[in-house]
C-alpha cells in the first residue's frame, strides 16, 4: 500500500530536479551573449545584492505588505458571511463568486484590470495604469479569493456559541467582534496573511501587465534576466532568493499554526 506513494514521489523528484537545476545555475558564471555557462562563482548573488536588485526586493516587500493589509480588510467581511451564513444557497453563491475569479486565470483577470484601470469605464482622477497604485489594486483583487477561503475556514472553526455567550452577557455586536470573534480567528488571520504575503512576493502577471515596465517586482526582474537578457545564472540567483524568502515565510506559518493547534 505504501508503494502507491512512489509514482507521486517520482513526480516530486522531477520537480526537485528542476529546482536543483535552478540552484546549480545560480552558482555558475554568466557568459554574456550565449546560454553556455562558466565556472562556479558567487557573482550572481553579488549581483542580487546590488542596489538595483535590492531596490526590486524592497519595492516587492512594500507592495506585498500593502496588498496583504488591504486584502485582509476587504476579505474579512466576505469570509465572515461565508462562514456564518446558514443558507446553503447563499453559501454556494458566495463560494462560486469567490472561486470563479480564482479559476479564470491570471491573464484574464489582469487584462480585465488593464481595461478598468485604463480609463475604459471611468476616467480616473489620478493615473492608475502603469503605476504602483494600479498594481496594488490588481494584486488585492488577485489575493482576495485565497484570503477569503483561508479566513472562512478559520472562522468556521470558531464556535458561534462563543459569540452568543458574549451577547448574552451583554456585549454589543461590535464588542463581541472585537473581544471574541477577532481574537479567536487570529490564528487564521495571521496564517492567511503570511500565505498571501508569500504568494504576492512572487506575483508575476499582475505587475508585468499592469506595471507596464515601470513597476517591477522580483518575479518580473527574474523574467527580464532570463528571457530578455538570457542571463540564466543571474535570473536563477534572484529566483533562489524569492524561493528562499517564500519558504522561510511559510515555514514560519507552519510553526505558528502548529503552536496554535497545540493549545
Amino acid at each position: 500500500m505504501r508503494l502507491l506513494l512512489v509514482p507521486a514521489l517520482a513526480v516530486i523528484a522531477v520537480f526537485a530536479l528542476a529546482l536543483g537545476a535552478l540552484f546549480q545555475y545560480s552558482l555558475l558564471a554568466f557568459v554574456p551573449g550565449s546560454l553556455r555557462t562558466g565556472g562556479v562563482t558567487l557573482e550572481n548573488f553579488r549581483g542580487v545584492a546590488s542596489p538595483q536588485y535590492l531596490g526590486y526586493v524592497w519595492d516587492t516587500v512594500v507592495l506585498s505588505a500593502a496588498t496583504t493589509v488591504l486584502t485582509l480588510l476587504a476579505s474579512y467581511p466576505v469570509a465572515y458571511a461565508l462562514a456564518r451564513t446558514s443558507s446553503r444557497a447563499a453559501r454556494s453563491w458566495l463560494l462560486i463568486l469567490t472561486l470563479a475569479p480564482f479559476f479564470t486565470g491570471a491573464i484574464v483577470r489582469t487584462y480585465a484590470w488593464l481595461l478598468v484601470l485604463g480609463n475604459t469605464v471611468v476616467t480616473w482622477p489620478v493615473p492608475m495604469l502603469f503605476t504602483e497604485r494600479g498594481v496594488l489594486v490588481g494584486l488585492v483583487h488577485f489575493s482576495m479569493p485565497t484570503m477569503i477561503l483561508l479566513l472562512a475556514a478559520a472562522l468556521s472553526h470558531v464556535d458561534p456559541a462563543y459569540e452568543r455567550a458574549a451577547a448574552s452577557l451583554g456585549a454589543t455586536p461590535a464588542r463581541v467582534f472585537w473581544r471574541v470573534t477577532l481574537p479567536l480567528s487570529m490564528p487564521g488571520i495571521v496564517s492567511g496573511s503570511l500565505i498571501v504575503f508569500a504568494w504576492t512576493l512572487s506575483a508575476f502577471p499582475t505587475p508585468e501587465l499592469l506595471g507596464g515596465g515601470k513597476v517591477k517586482m522580483i518575479a518580473n526582474a527574474v523574467k527580464d534576466l532570463a528571457l530578455d537578457s538570457f542571463n540564466w545564472p543571474g535570473a536563477a540567483a534572484f529566483a533562489m532568493l524569492a524561493l528562499g524568502l517564500t519558504l522561510a515565510l511559510l515555514a514560519g506559518v507552519g510553526r505558528l499554526s502548529a503552536g496554535w493547534h497545540a493549545e
Partner: protein
C-alpha cells in the same frame, strides 16, 4: 444592514473586472470603451480564427489532457497510500506532495527551462507536461484524499470475505466510492492546468505555447478587444465548470471541510 452592503460591494469589486471584459468584448470598434457603442461579434470571430490562438488551443488541449491523465492515477494512488499506508511520517509526505504549490512560479519555470535545456528537450512538450503534472498533483491528491478518508475500511474486508481479490475489491467497491473525490480532482486539474501561465511562459516557445501564454503575448503587443472576447469565452467556460462542480459535489465540502 450595512454589513450586507459591505459584502455586496466587495463582491461587486471582485466581479467588476469580469463584467467589464464581457461588455468590452462586444464592442464594434477597436477602441475599448465602456459601456460599448454597440454589439458586435467580430472580436469573437477574430479570436476564434487567429492562427496562433488556434495553435495554442490545441497545445493547451494536449498539455492539459496529458497532465490530467497522468496526474489522476498518480494522485489517487498517493491519496490511498497516505490514508491507508500506515506511514509514520504521514504529514511529512503530505507536505512534500503539496510542495509545488508554495514554490514561486518564476523559480519553478526557470528551473524547468534550465532542466529542459540541459536535457536537450527545449522544443519538446514533455517538460511542459511534466511541469503541469507537478503543479496539478497537489490538487488531485487533496481532493481524492478527502474521499478516501470517508471510506469505511471495513468494506474492503467485507469484499474479501465474500471472495473478491484485492483488484476486484478496488474496482467494484473502492473506485466507485471514490467518484466524488476523483471528479473534484479532475475538475481542479483541468482548471489549474488550462489557466497555468507563469511556468508555461518559461518552458514553452511559440510552437508549444499554451493559450494563456499566447494571450499574454497578444496583450503586450496589441490593444484591440480580441482578448476581451477570448477572455469572455474563458470566463463563461470557467463559471460553468465551477457551478457544475458545486452542483455535483458541493464546493463547501472541499473548501470548508468542517461545515
Amino acid at each position: 444592514m450595512s454589513a450586507r452592503l459591505a459584502v455586496a460591494l466587495l463582491l461587486g469589486f471582485m466581479t467588476l473586472p469580469t463584467a467589464v471584459v464581457v461588455a468590452v468584448s462586444f464592442n464594434p470598434t477597436a477602441i475599448m470603451s465602456f459601456p460599448p457603442d454597440g454589439l458586435s461579434l467580430r472580436w469573437y470571430a477574430n479570436a476564434l480564427t487567429y492562427p496562433q490562438f488556434q495553435r495554442a488551443s490545441v497545445n493547451s488541449l494536449i498539455v492539459t489532457a496529458g497532465a490530467t491523465l497522468v496526474a489522476l492515477p498518480i494522485g489517487t494512488a498517493a491519496a490511498l497510500a497516505l490514508e491507508r499506508g500506515r506511514l509514520r511520517a504521514r504529514n511529512v509526505w503530505a507536505t512534500l506532495l503539496l510542495s509545488p504549490l508554495v514554490v514561486p512560479g518564476v523559480a519553478a519555470g526557470l528551473g524547468f527551462l534550465i532542466l529542459a535545456a540541459s536535457l536537450g528537450l527545449l522544443r519538446s512538450r514533455a517538460v511542459l507536461i511534466a511541469a503541469h503534472v507537478a503543479l496539478v498533483l497537489p490538487f488531485v491528491v487533496r481532493s481524492v484524499w478527502v474521499s478516501v478518508a470517508n471510506l469505511d475500511p471495513m468494506l474492503d474486508r467485507a469484499a474479501a470475505s465474500l471472495g473478491a481479490t484485492p483488484w476486484r475489491t478496488f474496482r467494484r467497491v473502492t473506485l466507485p466510492l471514490l467518484r466524488p473525490g476523483l471528479s473534484a480532482g479532475l475538475l481542479f486539474a483541468v482548471i489549474v492546468s488550462a489557466n497555468e501561465f507563469v511556468v508555461s511562459l518559461f518552458v514553452s516557445n511559440r510552437v508549444t505555447e499554451i493559450l494563456p501564454v499566447a494571450m499574454f503575448t497578444y496583450v503586450v503587443n496589441y490593444t484591440d478587444p480580441t482578448i476581451a472576447a477570448l477572455s469572455s469565452l474563458f470566463i463563461g467556460a470557467t463559471f460553468l465548470l465551477v457551478w457544475l462542480a458545486d452542483r455535483l459535489f458541493g464546493l463547501a465540502a472541499v473548501f470548508l471541510p468542517d461545515r
